[in-house]
Symmetry: C2
Subunit: 137 residues, 2 copies
């Protein structure tokens, strides 16, 4: 992805509807397989950093800080394309995920599914979570 100019980035940001905490939900989807990897949050600065660097950066609600995905764990997300929904209040990030998106070591955070009324694990870790870090991805 080519980084937009600062004025183009400002124009894009003006389309977005941030919530009362200044955040917008962002879905990360693996660009070639279509797998939905995770849902996280961005503030204005995280959107700017993601567009400027091509490295996906979220806002961690638990740490109340920018969270450059993979900075600690090495499980980075490269931005392939950023999409905006009809109301401008949700983002879809087509990404190229290195390794595991989830802090539990699974490729996707959505590794549990309702089957016949029970919650089943549908995917196993591909990376030992202990090798990643102690906390949030």
């Amino acid at each position: 992805m080519t980084a937009p100019s600062p004025s183009a980035a400002a124009a894009l940001l003006s389309v977005l509807q941030f919530d009362r905490d200044g955040l917008i939900p962002a879905i990360a989807q693996q660009h070639d397989t279509g797998e939905v990897l995770m849902l996280a949050w961005m503030n204005r600065e995280a959107v700017q950093a993601t567009l400027a660097t091509g490295r996906v950066t979220y806002f961690s609600r638990s740490r109340q800080a920018l969270w450059r995905k993979g900075e600690t764990s090495g499980q980075t997300q490269r931005l392939v394309e950023l999409r905006i929904d009809c109301d401008g209040d949700a983002l879809l990030l087509l990404v190229d995920q290195t390794g595991a998106a989830c802090h539990t070591g699974t490729r996707s955070c959505f590794f549990r599914a309702v089957h016949g009324g029970a919650l089943d694990r549908i995917a196993e870790p591909i990376v030992d979570p202990k090798s990643l870090y102690g906390a949030e991805a």
Copy 2:
């Protein structure tokens, strides 16, 4: 999808983390193509109704009411599988979407993408939005 028993549904609901407005974000993805269709919100009652009926039901934040997807527009979503993320604070709904998920008539709400610093339309309506209704899908 087989509807879970009331006790199984209650157990599932106990895993979910609703926000301070009692809502949880839900991503709808077409089950066979992998296309991400939309992001909307559910409250506890919407999750229950979706599981019980297999018809996806959201909570409309603008109308502050349950929103049985497609009730007015006919563009329904049948639930194929419900997935829950690692923290229990986001849902992924694998659905079978009839027609257009978006109130603008496009298949997906994510019909705008950042290309070279500008916002491009990447999909056209497949249904005339005037034929759907006046307001929200």
